[in-house]
Symmetry: C2
Subunit: 364 residues, 2 copies
């Protein structure tokens, strides 16, 4: 495993670090990568991890070394960081739209060996075609379809067929297949129907790509799925634990925080607020608030401002004292790694490396 | 106004920029700075703007040039960016707690002409005292008290008195006064009672510092207030408009986004998600969702994932087409400037400068 460039801290143990700080437990990361790859191998699925969770080339290379076929990224900038770090096979699972994105997408095509874009509309297709022409390289296309997220994705198989025909009729792009997120129960039927329609045109959607961590261990139940995209599994979080995809002992990312105030018996304040934990909530069935406190299981991060996390201790046995450090399991790991410039990788509290989060903030 | 160092974009108008991008309207910023200073001057209040909103030395210097007495920051790192950019008078409105923070706080004390820390407990005081000793410089202290936020702050005047006595008895620190956020209706009484107690000890809390943008124009109604701390007023946002502190025409920060998908008649998706707008919500009385769409007043950003913003167009007259650009007024400006590495300052769409957000991510 290549070691990222050092940051200016000579701390040897996480106990010595200033807070708040994002910690990742390398033993757990390695176990999570191995478990996901073993599952994919067992079920004959290609694994294409989403790098949005870690944003670190060092972990993308770990996933590839374990057997992943390539990576998934959302935006061109995020993928470009990976391409420059030697990742050759990239799927952008996002409709790249905008004249200002054509040249960056062309650069990405030139920087990778194999590039595909998932899209659901003709404007995105036009921009991908222009980028392919600009790059002098073919770009593959997956047609995105709706399967329960009500976000992006065509709603009907006939729409997927029309887009596939447009791809087939256009120079510079090639149809790779169909893609969806989060791989809802309607996905297999949609793919079957669309494949039947495409067969009438002599077209083939070879790849059926879908998934996400919350239901990743059920991906093989989705008939016809060939490629599993999941990202959060590398760290896990309160949401994926709540969804049953992991146990607390699998969670590899925590925020180390310090108790900075305790104005009342049942209230303490930590130095990690929404600028560290984000304001992301989770399904109330999975838990309340903005994070769980490892050292005080009865405590809850009930409210956040930018730099304050307020702990409700009313159902908690112990009481952390001011100055004490606690580890917080966040609701959602991915946006947490988007906030701090660095993450600290450790094994059992001993720091192995401190790395810049290269693909942090890459929203374009 | 000094011009920040350029970023590698030769765009001359915001129309040419890639999206999502954070735009700030300099004409409005200047008007907001002037209006706040005029209000403070009119009521004999010192204005100490919170830099957490803009995180830009260039705007801190603008605020100081207009008449601000110094700046407010939350964390040492944020303040250090400002000190290195020539800001000399800093108040940290946050209890600095942690052995790892002593040396950075000492460095900040050496880098500033005047430094104060607001705190509500003895552990924070101990760490401030150690930093002052390390720096060989006095650090001033404001005792933070509760006035409606239930976050940090002592609950009772007797607690404030005890802390003030501890400050008075300790080498290297000096009592400047009392501070609170958000300056609730109980604040004036708390200060009156505490000042009476302190008088018994021959102590004086010269400064009473408080405030925040939502009720900033009512700050003069808080008896005894001497210093107004507010930050968001420099940009304003949906929350401060909702609170009645500004009109939509005063809002200076918007996110420029592109419509990347429109899968159904009443649903469109923009390329700004929680990694750009944050998941911060506002008081439901002020509005629903995660942002307002300037060009389509009936539209609402109803749900976000990291890179997707889903627009509900069901009560909207027009329908943006895929590829169209829209401007989003976010719920909360401050965390938005914490996400992108750059902001684009313009006048009427013409770019004046593109600046790195120097104090972005400075949570330590």
């Amino acid at each position: 495993m290549p070691t990222p460039p050092p940051c200016a801290s000579n701390a040897r143990r996480v106990d010595e670090l200033d807070t708040p700080t994002v910690l990742i437990d390398l033993d757990r990361v390695e176990a999570n990568i191995a478990a996901a790859q073993a599952y994919a191998d067992q079920h004959g699925l290609a694994l294409r991890p989403h790098v949005k969770t870690h944003k670190l080339p060092v972990l993308a290379h770990r996933q590839l070394a374990a057997g992943a076929v390539g990576i998934t990224a959302q935006k061109v900038g995020e993928a470009m960081v990976m391409a420059h770090a030697g990742v050759e096979d990239v799927l952008l699972s996002y409709p790249i739209v905008g004249a200002a994105k054509v040249e960056p997408l062309a650069r990405l095509a030139r920087a990778t060996t194999r590039l595909a874009v998932m899209l659901d509309n003709r404007t995105a297709l036009e921009h991908v075609v222009r980028a392919a022409a600009e790059a002098g390289r073919a770009i593959e296309v997956l047609i995105e379809f709706e399967s329960g997220n009500r976000r992006t994705g065509v709603m009907e198989p006939v729409q997927a067929r029309a887009l596939a025909q447009a791809v087939d009729a256009t120079e510079g792009v090639r149809l790779r297949g169909l893609g969806t997120h989060p791989l809802g129960s309607s996905a297999a039927d949609f793919v079957r129907e669309t494949r039947a329609l495409l067969a009438q045109d002599g077209l083939e959607a070879t790849v059926f790509s879908g998934g996400g961590t919350p239901r990743m261990w059920h991906a093989h139940e989705s008939e016809g799925l060939s490629e599993l995209r999941a990202g959060t599994y590398v760290y896990h979080d309160r949401a994926t634990v709540g969804a049953g995809a992991a146990g607390l002992e699998d969670c590899a990312l925590h925020v180390l925080a310090t108790v900075v105030s305790a104005p009342e018996r049942d209230r303490a304040v930590i130095d990690a607020g929404s600028k560290t934990l984000t304001s992301d909530r989770i399904d109330p069935a999975f838990g309340a608030g903005f994070g769980a406190v490892l050292e005080y299981p009865g405590a809850l991060v009930t409210s956040l401002s930018e730099e304050h996390g307020v702990l409700d201790l009313s159902t908690c046995e112990g009481r952390p004292r001011v100055g004490e450090r606690v580890r917080i399991l966040p609701n959602h790991a991915c946006p947490v790694t988007n906030l701090d410039d660095h993450v600290v990788a450790h094994r059992g509290g001993r720091i192995e490396w401190i790395a810049p989060v290269w693909a942090r903030g890459a929203t374009r």
